[in-house]
Symmetry: C2
Subunit: 220 residues, 2 copies
DNA sequence: ATTATCATCACCATTTATGGGGAGTCTCCC
DNA sequence: GGGAGACTCCCCATAAATGGTGATGATAAT
């Protein structure tokens, strides 16, 4: 079976060595490189022949930090599997890392034994979080998910009429005025009137703005 | 202090009575009505003078179920705070309820004592889930959030060039070709070329489609 | 009864977007 | 040294969206 290739990035060489040692105890995984700065990670991965199944990434590093690296992957559309290995267990940090597309998040304090599990899980395309991070995530979930927007938006949405809502939905479905008119059995003029009304009420610049408003406020 | 008004909807009258009894033991909460079918709930809330801070809603009910009721609120853009009170602890059910905008989810088996807490939390605009639901949600979270799309899309995204990616982003920011051209120091013609290319590659019909693609695939 | 809002449609002018070409430079790879 | 792609720009024509103004009937609220 092909081994899982892992690249380790941490500004403390001792830590890199430590992780490498732990990883090498497992026959299914092998180290294929390491970096001490974010810049080194980016340089390494920018070379076509350099590939790793999983990247263990510290956040705090000199010359480009872990976030910079994640942003680099996102911009270059490299779907690199990354496990953040950090001391931070702050919600904002975790959320930022998640939104930047990391696959796993393991805190240094709760690590050690779990890093192998994390690598194997992430290599399979699953996600992995250490227990303390799980706790934090659940909290986030409980307090935020499906929170239906804030006051200002709520007021705006309530000011939308049924027809406007309908048109908004169809706009977000990529339909043009003609198609919407047919769908709703109305004249194109009428649809255009609703378009204008939506642009005004939602304070956006064009149809894209209407559609984006719809997704942001879960109106579709 | 104003009391929290609660409407209870469950097809088993005994259960309605039971919940009412429990609720009435708390001086901050009072029952303002009940329903035995989903249709009754919709009828009740469609009358302008009928209002409740919190709706306790069963899923299984004759003549329109709990989901129908949630869909009704969503369509009518009524931001009703709803606590689902159900026997189901199935992930799909919970997700569906959440996506339909419920604020809390309490299973019947783990309920009783917690329903008061749930009502108070939800009344404040917070979310509330019973412990068993929390467990299920965390599982979901761990396995699904930030899953970076599926294969087909991944291939398409990788086929996008850097410039196309940039233009896509600006389109999603509601900018028109002229603005994008200025921003990128290019001619409008060039931006239009990228627009056409994006429409083709993403197989969408217009700019709205491009923007929606961007959000769906977390490219912005 | 009067006001207000919604729903519906129209005409106008202008700006943007879309669809189809073509075409030059550049770099990277075989 | 040829080819593929990326990046850049242009022309043309048509379709679509935006902005402004106005108008009618219906319904709901005060």
């Amino acid at each position: 079976m092909k081994k899982i290739n892992v690249h380790v990035a941490d500004d403390h060489k001792v830590l890199v060595d430590g992780i490498s040692a732990v990883i090498n105890t497992d026959s299914e995984i092998e180290i294929c490189g390491y970096s001490l700065t974010g810049q080194q990670v980016i340089d390494w991965f920018s070379k076509k022949r350099n590939k790793a199944d999983v990247l263990i990434l510290d956040i705090t590093m000199p010359i480009k930090d872990g976030f910079d690296v994640l942003r680099y992957f996102k911009e270059k559309r490299i779907f690199q599997k990354v496990i953040i290995f950090s001391s931070y267990d702050d919600l904002k940090i975790v959320q930022e890392a998640l939104s930047l597309g990391c696959y796993g998040y393991v805190t240094k304090k709760s690590a050690g034994e779990h890093i192998i599990d994390a690598i194997k899980a992430v290599a399979k395309g699953e996600q992995y979080f250490s227990d303390d991070i799980k706790k934090i995530l659940l909290k986030t979930f409980t307090n935020q998910v499906t929170s239906t927007g804030d006051l200002p938006d709520k007021i705006i949405i309530e000011s939308l009429t049924d027809r406007e809502l309908e048109v908004l939905k169809y706009i977000a479905y990529e339909m043009n005025s003609g198609e919407i008119a047919e769908k709703m059995s109305l004249s194109v003029s009428t649809i255009d009137t609703y378009r204008k009304s939506l642009l005004k009420k939602l304070n956006v610049k064009n149809s894209v703005g209407i559609a984006m408003y719809a997704v942001r406020n879960k109106l579709i």
